[in-house]
Symmetry: C2
Subunit: 207 residues, 2 copies
Amino acid sequence: MLSTVTSQTPSLPAHDNPTVVRLFEAAADAFADKGFHGTTTRDIASRAGLSPAGVYVHFASKEDLLFQLSRVGHVAARDALAAAADEAASPTDALQEVISEFARWHAEQHQVARIVQYEFRHLSPEHQREVLTLRREIDAVVERIIAEGVASGEFDVDDTRSTALAALSLVVDVARWYHPGIKRTTPESIANSYGALALRLVGARRD
Amino acid sequence: MLSTVTSQTPSLPAHDNPTVVRLFEAAADAFADKGFHGTTTRDIASRAGLSPAGVYVHFASKEDLLFQLSRVGHVAARDALAAAADEAASPTDALQEVISEFARWHAEQHQVARIVQYEFRHLSPEHQREVLTLRREIDAVVERIIAEGVASGEFDVDDTRSTALAALSLVVDVARWYHPGIKRTTPESIANSYGALALRLVGARRD
DNA sequence: GTCTATACGACGATAGAC
DNA sequence: GTCTATCGTCGTATAGAC
């Protein structure tokens, strides 16, 4: 699961190392389940099949592990969104595709998504700043689509910025409530219904 | 701020005690800011002007403090919602009022709201169960309004349950991003725009 | 009901052998 | 690069004086 994400960002050299991949997976499991401060380095190490000291060969600190995870997660999400936006023929198509794709990502990668969205505050100030830059790129993709739809007359929106935030809120909250096996809900069904809901939020003319 | 919430639930006898109120406020500040496990009992105690030991006269444990805060917060939110729903003349009015009110609550009480929504998993299993009962009552208010609107023909909705979840997602996410002083956004403006957005989500016939 | 003092385990991180 | 052993600190919670 996580390897899908990491393989999309081969720029991180550490990803060639299977121990690092296991540490990423262990940390993603643990942070998503118990939160950053609820997770111990011993917990992560044992899930990855290492001694407590083994973590520090690959990461400078627990916070560094959270940061790398957040960064990789944001990059993967941003790239998936930008690709979806580029393929669309109109703002209406673009919004539906982008929100569908992002909703699917929040469900399929719900552990990473949860960390990305809810453990942000436990990053150091410098790391928060770096992640925030990536996050603004994601927000900008959605805002731009809505602005284009308003300009073309396809959308009817009061305030572009706050409507973009609302569409993203729908999607982000998936990471809070979704878990695999939840009743009659799959990443696929979420993707379908959330694309349509986003079109309603912007008052798209055709349904 | 918090005293507004607590005064709505005089059934909790401890609220007559100003030290307990100070502890609630200190814990709400700290938990909202740094999360449950990121907050120390020393931190809470000093914010409330007590020694570390002083907390345990009033609360059995740090988890107990989180539980009482979650419970009071849920009860306040549920009562505010139910009141808003009762005053409405139609499903359209009811949905707009309820979502407006709940969005306003998430902004005004964003610290308690954040704790209620994001620190839930750190409660003990028994306490999770108790809080979950209250949460289902909140969900049921929204679901019932949407079902009534579908029945009356005012709303056009695919799936009542998932649409209710989406409307609540919009609102819940306010607790993640809102903080006082955020650019051109007030609890009042959030309440207004979110009521309208919820009507769009359900395909309400009149805007 | 609040304090000072403290028990005692768990924490993140490091040292040094292999 | 991984281990065992451990350092120094801080965590929750309690004991007992006032």
